[in-house]
Point group: C3
């Protein structure tokens, strides 16, 4: 019997700096994709929820939520980049240069920016830049990320796989879609959520009161919806066999990100017009089904953008099973980067990132 | 460190009779929203399942299911009305005056009709009338409800919140959409489910044979899809800490309502053209994930409407973990209002309501 | 009190050879239906994922995935055919003669081909041919199946039920939609998944490396989405009471089929243009929530179809909780039909079927 067991992803020695992987997924996003995402992430940002609000902004329809785009781009890349990875280490410079709409067909490519073996010799860090784009080439989400990968070469990758190229990915994508690059047309809606740029002061901390318990089926559904093929998230036999640090399925980090952002949304993004970028993001600890996620935000900067809008930057953090306010009361340093800490690590912390949004300046 | 913890909803003294809250959610309903709802609620009503059937009726498309509309309206109002509520007490006079379609953007407003402190002084009953409407103002679901709320004033509500007005909500909405207000064009479909108005006799009881076990993820997804922000339904830390009477997440009552209605649907609404209203509804007990719901209906009235259709009113009840037929055999009085009972309460009963439907009179 | 408990499905003596049941469900499939399906089944077949790919093939839009069509057809028929069935025994000659698209309204009819009492006298096998069609009559999925049903007649079926006819169901539907019946226009996409017809050799075995753990909510949602009304899949009280061989809810077999096919997809259907049929399929064992499914394929035949495409036939099998590769190493005969085996049955085997696909011959 001739038998084979195809495997995907790459080990450290399979990566070559400068290579570009054209990921095989080609997926038409539709209204159902968007609704399913909204059914897990109770997000208050009006641009992504209301077609009327989006029209007022000058967009042709309600755009696909940015965290769904990031999750699609990241998940499409798993097949070539991280299906063998041990851990996702960092989100860097995430941008949304163009709106995507239901009906658009999306593809992604990743370029290897760096490969750095660890001194231990058994693993290393891969640094890639991924671009999720429409078929006409317009990038809708561009980001860098780092992943921890075992040393060696992967056996079993099919030979006639997806095309690899040396083509360039544009290095400096816009942080705003064309419709918002000149003066922003601020939607005239009266009412809506509280929280305008004038209400946020640098240094201020906001504890988001309500948590969200992660459902077992819902996290697997979101993972499949985004086409994330890492078995850590949906194959219990793989996980129980020792491949998971948690000995069970671990929630895909991009979903933890989206839940934490959603938990902060009624307090911070109820008047946001566009997500201008995420940076310096990491997952200091893993999350499993049944964990309850919480969020806190610290205002880092508020900068006028044009007459009606401002750029507001938050440090957004997520914790599990304990409220950030309680952790802070107990002395936890929530807003410093976990990775840089010698002492004082916060074991409940599961997510941290800088988030910059374009916000209405005032009601 | 300046820190704040925004809170939403209201305590008893925050409500003022006559105030109107314009809820901040503005959401475009799409085909995905509808499909997700149908993926949890196996409903047989043809108008909401088939575009052809809806066209035959004179509607321009398959309308959004009425129980999804009710759940959207109720959920939108949680942010201002009941996020701090202890319990939902009653559904009163629910109507669907106009069809909503995928693509419509919906908003909701609630008017405070009454505030009644309990004699104990620590809580009271708030009575509101909520209207879910399209952006052109056409109401697609109007209902009253009562909730039990703690006394006092809520600290932490953001100041620049959603607009409050004194505008009136139309008091007497239609029970039928414009397309059905004159003579009803009865769809000509031959076949379909059994059960026409001529088959139902006042006094008759129908035990619906099949139950539905509530999934943990699915109830949380439906809750988020509808934008219900009460942590009782999805925040296990909140619930385990004593805020939930069940010490765990409790299924949002509007979903229990929808499941019970769906369980009755093959036996009672397979030839229903429109839901003309619900009234006198309550949740005598709570439901948690893993409970199995059952339904029973009693025919209250059958009244000719026009040459081809009749109005049929059922008393619809839901139970958990025991079949209504078994409870009835054991002597339970299923169809009387639980609240009014001195003795003879049925602890398994989780839902009761009057439901009036417009039904084909005969095949 | 007049009371009744309507029941659906049929017992053995209720079936008459030649009868045709027009199933009552009439459902408009939409983008949400498709997205929900894709959120549970991580399938790589490009025709069903990408509108661009489908356009290149000459189709007018991304077609509804064939396993969703099969599940809709099978589920629609449960109400009349198998709601009282003990077990699903066989899938025979499944074909997809025409593409269905989001927006199409679908109905199904089943013709009784055979009724065969078992020698024990207490049960028997029913053999039906089901056709799922658009309202213009175009069949989009046609298949035969066999189910094991108890002897006797069902009491409680409503009298005025769905129409029964003697009309014929076309006996020999095409295996390809009209757009692909002449020379196939092979999409020009460069890249995508590995695995072209030239890469598969008859006799070769492919062990698909990754498994999928079945979520409790997700399998119930898919069951309801397809309108499958058998309580075995979602009514824990029914199951715990002894009606389920597993004493708990059992995953609807059509979903096990879809999961196993999806698990094989990156290795076998990444360049498939159309599913030409399934045959000789069975479920040797049941699956419950929490089980992890795995898949393996054996290449049975590779036949040139036209200059650019080939027909490839796989024997596709599914196992639970143990990898097919491990079972094969331990001596299991995975690819022979379980039913025919005297000794050597593989208790972990949950699914087996022949699958024929139209595939790009080479990159």
């Amino acid at each position: 019997m001739t038998a084979k067991t195809p495997k995907y992803g790459r080990l450290l020695d399979d990566f070559e700096v400068g290579a570009v992987y054209a990921h095989p997924w080609e997926v038409t996003v539709d209204a159902g994709t968007v609704a399913l995402f909204q059914a897990s992430f109770l997000d208050a940002t009006p641009t992504y929820a209301s077609a009327r609000y989006a029209w007022d902004l000058g967009l042709r329809d309600r755009p696909v939520p940015p965290l769904l785009l990031l999750n699609l781009g990241l998940s499409f890349s798993v097949h070539d980049v991280s299906e063998q990875a041990i851990a996702h280490l960092a989100y860097i410079d995430v941008r949304f240069p163009e709106a995507a709409y239901a009906g658009d067909t999306l593809v992604a490519t990743s370029r290897v920016l760096g490969v750095k073996p660890a001194s231990s010799g058994d693993k290393g860090v891969v640094h890639v830049r991924t671009s999720l784009a429409k078929l006409d080439g317009a990038a809708v989400c561009v980001f860098e990320r780092k992943a921890l990968v075992r040393a060696g070469r992967l056996h079993g990758r099919p030979e006639r796989a997806h095309v690899e190229k040396r083509a360039s990915i544009p290095p400096e994508p816009s942080r705003l879609p064309p419709e918002l690059r000149e003066t922003v047309r601020v939607p005239s809606r009266v009412g809506g959520f509280a929280g305008f740029a004038c209400d946020f002061a640098p240094g201020e901390v906001i504890f988001h009161d309500i948590g969200k318990t992660v459902g077992e089926s819902e996290h697997m559904q979101m993972t499949a919806l985004c086409r994330n093929s890492h078995p850590l998230h949906f194959d219990e036999v793989y996980c129980a066999g020792g491949a998971s640090f948690a000995k069970t399925r671990v929630v895909y980090g991009g979903l933890v990100f989206a839940w934490v952002a959603a938990l902060a949304s009624r307090d911070t993004t109820g008047n946001v017009l566009w997500d201008m970028g995420f940076d310096q993001g990491a997952h200091p600890a893993g999350v499993v089904a049944g964990d309850t996620l919480f969020a806190a935000s610290k205002v880092l900067a508020v900068t006028p953008h044009d007459p009606g809008t401002s750029r507001v930057t938050f440090r957004l953090v997520g914790t599990k099973n304990r409220k950030p306010a309680d952790l802070a009361t107990a002395g936890a340093d929530l807003f410093s980067t976990e990775l840089g800490k010698g002492e004082g690590k916060v074991p409940e912390k599961v997510f941290e990132i800088d988030r910059t949004v374009l916000m209405k300046s005032r009601p």
